[in-house]
């Protein structure tokens, strides 16, 4: 094994993340590398994140924390070239209907189809179904009201898709209101 433990550990983290398709739980890596202290582990990550990846223009990757795990992703500025190389014409984005439905589920989960349709003012069966297929939401059970409607909540894929580490990274409703009020001021002068 490498005489310099830090170098070996960083190399191992990079290798594990390189091979993994999905975000890897930090706890699993810590256990494997026998790192007890989270601060120590974070220090390794910081070195890797900044000195080895972010600050090195010759590297094409970044370290990303999403869905509670660690993952290697490509640098954003390489997006267009990657698209060209892999001949992808258009990245598929979510429809506005899907985004609205997700917004409601994210902030009111678990919630039912009836509540979603009610808040949007339109029947939302379509977007709910497509979000289920995309695995951005899941069925968590049934609401104990007449008809026992299904309850929906967001998934870990939702976090990964939107680049969130956990749900607390979403601004709270109060924070949102402030955020939007600030943003809206300039529009007064239009």
């Amino acid at each position: 094994m490498n005489p310099e433990p830090i170098i070996y550990q960083i190399a191992m983290i990079e290798a594990i993340l390189f091979v993994s398709k999905e975000p890897v739980e930090p706890g699993r890596i810590m256990e494997f590398l026998e790192i007890k202290d989270i601060g120590e582990f974070e220090k390794l990550l910081a070195i890797m994140e900044k000195e080895h990846l972010q600050d090195r223009p010759e590297r094409g990757l970044l370290l990303k924390r999403s869905g509670g795990g660690l993952q290697l992703v490509t640098k954003p500025e390489l997006h267009d070239e990657l698209k060209a190389f892999f001949t992808i014409k258009q990245s598929t984005k979510l429809s506005l209907a899907s985004l609205e439905t997700l917004s409601i589920i994210a902030y009111r989960q678990p919630t039912t189809l009836a509540e979603i349709s009610d808040m949007r003012g339109v029947n939302s069966t379509g977007p709910v179904k497509s979000l289920l297929q995309k695995k951005l939401i899941k069925i968590t059970g049934r609401k104990k009201v007449p008809g026992l409607p299904l309850l929906y909540a967001t998934t870990q894929e939702f976090l990964i898709y939107f680049g969130l580490n956990d749900m607390t990274e979403l601004p709270s409703l109060e924070e949102l209101t402030e955020l939007f009020e600030e943003k809206e001021q300039p529009s007064l002068f239009k």
Binding site: L72, P76, H79, L99, S103, R120, V122, K135, Y161, L164
Partner: protein, 243 residues
């Protein structure tokens, strides 16, 4: 009725729904939601509905429902009626819905921005899904996904004409034997294929419950190899499948 020919128009941007249209009208008239002048908005709303401008045809009924509410509110305001403080007026309810919907729109915008930033970052998964035919990590499926396919098959079966009435009775115990022996011969069972080969809806039902039972008892495992792919049933000891 006057007919106007305006050349070929492609309408791509529909209003998402009646609330979207209402918010648009409120903004256009520089009103605040809480100070909304409903009579003016109602007139404009109905004009949109009449011209079908920006109205998604498949959602017309949703737009009409809101139109009815608007007219109801308007007619109520014309009638002298003592205000019952305990009852929430339809007007207040609509305003409340609009305020909530405005928030939803803003959250959607935020999610959209986040989606945009994230789409610039590529993960390993993206290449896998789009390009390679390598073996996918098997994902265990939920009972809901299994049920969805089950209902598809039932629907297909319902459309078929059965020429005979099966007098055979199916039992879960027999089915269990059959499925387990089938799995001894083959490595796995393709769920849709297996189900669609069965003779009657009754047999499908019994087989489905048998499968659910066996999965529940951890004797079998249902996995989906890729998104929207077929679901396969394996004996559970085959492997510690990744989940």
């Amino acid at each position: 009725m006057e007919i106007e020919i305006q050349g070929y128009q492609v309408q791509t941007d529909f209003f998402e729904g009646p609330l979207d249209l209402l918010l648009h009208l409120i903004r256009k008239n520089k009103m605040k939601i809480v100070e909304i002048r409903l009579s003016q908005i109602t007139a404009e709303y109905l004009a949109y509905l009449e011209n079908k401008k920006g109205i998604n045809p498949s959602r017309e009924s949703d737009f009409l429902t809101t139109a009815a509410t608007l007219i109801y509110i308007k007619s109520r305001s014309l009638l002298p009626k003592p205000e019952d403080p305990g009852e929430e007026s339809p007007e207040k309810k609509l305003i409340h819905t609009l305020i909530e919907y405005e928030k939803i729109q803003k959250i959607s915008k935020m999610l959209q921005d986040m989606e945009y930033t994230e789409l610039l970052l590529w993960r390993r998964l993206e290449i896998d899904e789009n390009f390679t035919n390598r073996e996918y990590a098997l994902k265990e499926v939920s009972a809901f996904q299994l049920a969805e396919i089950f209902f598809d098959i039932i629907k297909k079966k319902e459309n078929e004409q059965f020429l005979y009435i099966s007098s055979k009775n199916y039992s879960i115990a027999e089915k269990q034997e059959e499925i387990l022996s089938l799995l001894k011969k083959n490595v796995f069972i393709d769920f849709s294929e297996y189900m669609s080969k069965l003779d009657s809806i009754e047999e499908i039902l019994v087989s489905f419950f048998t499968l659910l039972e066996l999965i529940k008892r951890h004797l079998l495992i249902a996995v989906q190899e890729q998104l929207f792919g077929t679901i396969s049933i394996y004996p559970n000891q085959v492997g510690r499948l990744e989940n």
